[in-house]
């Protein structure tokens, strides 16, 4: 079965004057994938999204979207974008904004559907300036959906949302995406990444240092985190093949392991008087921090989804 390649980047590089934003990036995103771009500020996430959208020019390499050059009219018709700043005029109403954006597309979604999808019911006659931060973001999201896009690009969509609004937005994104649409989302929120992504790319200094599913990323540092207060000599764990990573500061020990049972029994044998023993699955945050630590970036993990 042929899988449609939505974004095809080969050896892409981009710099701003002397600052390197992206280096030698090669990436294929297929139809239906939900890619989340993670990384510190300035790591290259937004640059990649802007290159895909065709608002930035490549310095090097090639980048195709739906098999066409970025920025091509047929690409823009199939792509919806929610940018970090959108400067939506405050004096126009929700309905006026939606009506305007719908005219840009030949087969737009109906205003009713947009209002329902972005949960803007009852706000149609309110001006953008009178909406709360979360409601403004939802209108921004609705504008991205106007053309019924097959590729949705979201740059930090839940910034400025409170917890409820953020979760509601995730549901809205999730429902809209279905299985056929492709998502590229840049975020700093790891919960958002886990909730919406099935493929996570971690950027560091313009390079992709990890490219895998959330589960696979977690397994890179061990699947389980064991923590305890103990004076045990950690050297012994270095010989345990199930222990992937050890952190020991003062009396606080943290082990990231692939087989929790053997490590726990070993730990209890070595120190039966240990305190505050806790066992929990390793989080994406643990994996993320490990990958961005000097040790992690040296390893330069790169696995395929």
């Amino acid at each position: 079965m042929n899988v449609e390649i939505v974004v095809d980047a080969t050896n892409v590089a981009k710099s701003y004057n002397d600052i390197t934003a992206l280096t030698d990036l090669s990436l294929r995103v297929t139809r239906g994938q939900r890619c989340v771009l993670l990384g510190p500020n300035g790591a290259g996430k937004s640059t990649l999204l802007n290159l895909v959208l065709g608002v930035l020019r490549l310095d090097q390499g090639s980048l195709k979207v739906f098999g066409k050059k970025t920025g091509h009219i047929s690409v823009r018709r199939r792509t919806g974008a929610m940018l970090q700043i959108s400067g939506i005029p405050s004096s126009l109403t929700v309905q006026e904004h939606l009506r305007l954006f719908r005219t840009y597309y030949e087969n737009p979604l109906s205003t009713d559907k947009l209002v329902r999808t972005a949960k803007l019911e009852g706000l149609e006659r309110r001006t953008f300036g009178s909406l709360s931060g979360g409601q403004q973001q939802r209108l921004n999201f609705a504008l991205a959906l106007c053309g019924n896009p097959m590729l949705l690009i979201l740059d930090e969509p839940s910034t400025s949302h409170d917890v409820e609004a953020r979760m509601a937005l995730w549901d809205e994104i999730d429902q809209f995406m279905g299985t056929e649409r492709t998502l590229m989302l840049a975020t700093h929120n790891l919960e958002e990444a886990e909730r919406l992504g099935d493929r996570i790319l971690i950027f560091h200094e313009g390079r992709v240092i990890a490219d895998a599913s959330p589960e696979k990323l977690r397994s890179m540092i061990g699947t389980t985190e064991i923590s305890a207060q103990t004076n045990v000599n950690v050297e012994v764990f270095k010989r345990n093949q199930h222990v992937k990573r050890i952190e020991h500061v003062d009396r606080h020990l943290k082990l990231y392991v692939t087989a929790a049972e053997s490590a726990v029994s070993q730990l209890l044998q070595l120190d039966p008087d240990l305190k505050n023993l806790a066992v929990k699955p390793a989080s994406l945050l643990d994996a993320y921090l490990h990958l961005l630590s000097p040790a992690g970036t040296d390893e330069h993990h790169r696995t395929n989804a």
Partner: protein, 263 residues
């Protein structure tokens, strides 16, 4: 037949976008008090004060006509420079232009709609001034002169839109307003529409004849036979040249920014 149908469809789609975009621009400006009061209010207030309140004695007939034309021209300059140039700069800075660029709308429609909005505001200003003139003053412009004034004013808005566009792209989003302000008052003074041209010092006059305001106001003053008698085609050519040069330079700055950053 096969090629005509899609072409017609595309044209209809394009017209729909232009119409929606222009309507939205007009609404947006009308609902922005700073814009509506400054751009609409300034020329109207000058007209009320200079055209109606001040008693010009024996020259009252000519003065009324002069102030109708002068303040309508001020309206055209203001809408072009502020309503077009400063707005483009602001929206560029706030990210609205970027959102338009990633959508499938042709970006020139955005600029065209803004230019149409500026022209519409110029027409609105001259209509308000003419209506006040007709309502309160015995001696005014004839119906034909009034209609021609509206045409001249709407056409002369375009070069100021282009100058505004250049300011908008040359200056940063936050400094465009300052740039345009620096330009606005000297243009008004040099064009002979606030201070009569012939009382300006000789060396200022020799500079002023190269400004677009001189040529656009001369076109308008031709309606009441108070121009300096230069051929109409000369004024039109100078205004066209200004527009073309400003568009080229603005395109250069736009392309440079597009290549460099997020525009």
């Amino acid at each position: 037949m096969n090629t005509i149908a899609p072409m017609l469809e595309r044209s209809a789609h394009f017209c729909r976008i232009l119409l929606a975009e222009s309507y939205t621009e007009f609404l947006k400006c009308l609902r922005t008090p700073a814009f509506a009061s400054a751009i609409l209010g300034f020329p109207v207030i000058i007209y009320l004060f200079c055209g109606l309140v001040i008693d010009w004695g024996e020259t009252i007939e000519r003065s009324h006509q002069f102030w109708i034309i002068a303040t309508s021209s001020i309206g055209a300059i203001g809408t072009g420079l502020f309503g077009f140039g400063v707005y483009v700069a602001n929206e560029r800075g706030q990210g609205w232009l970027l959102l338009k660029r990633v959508s499938p709308m042709p970006i020139f429609v955005y600029f065209l709609a803004k230019a149409l909005m500026a022209v519409a505001f110029s027409i609105l200003i001259s209509c308000i001034i003419l209506a006040i003139g007709h309502a309160f003053v015995v001696v005014q412009l004839s119906l034909v002169q009034s209609a021609l004034l509206v045409v001249v004013v709407s056409l002369s808005t375009i070069p100021y839109c282009m100058i505004g566009l250049l300011c908008g792209f040359m200056a940063g989003p936050n400094t465009a307003h300052a740039y345009v302000n620096i330009l606005y008052l000297p243009l008004l003074l040099l064009g002979g529409i606030i201070i009569p041209f012939d009382i300006l010092p000789q060396f200022v006059q020799s500079i002023a004849i190269f400004t677009p305001v001189f040529h656009s106001s001369q076109l308008a003053f031709k309606l009441i036979d108070t121009s300096f008698g230069y051929p109409t085609i000369l004024h039109l050519l100078v205004l066209c040249a200004y527009s073309i040069i400003c568009v080229c330079l603005a395109s250069f700055f736009y392309a440079r920014e597009k290549a460099r950053t997020f525009g």
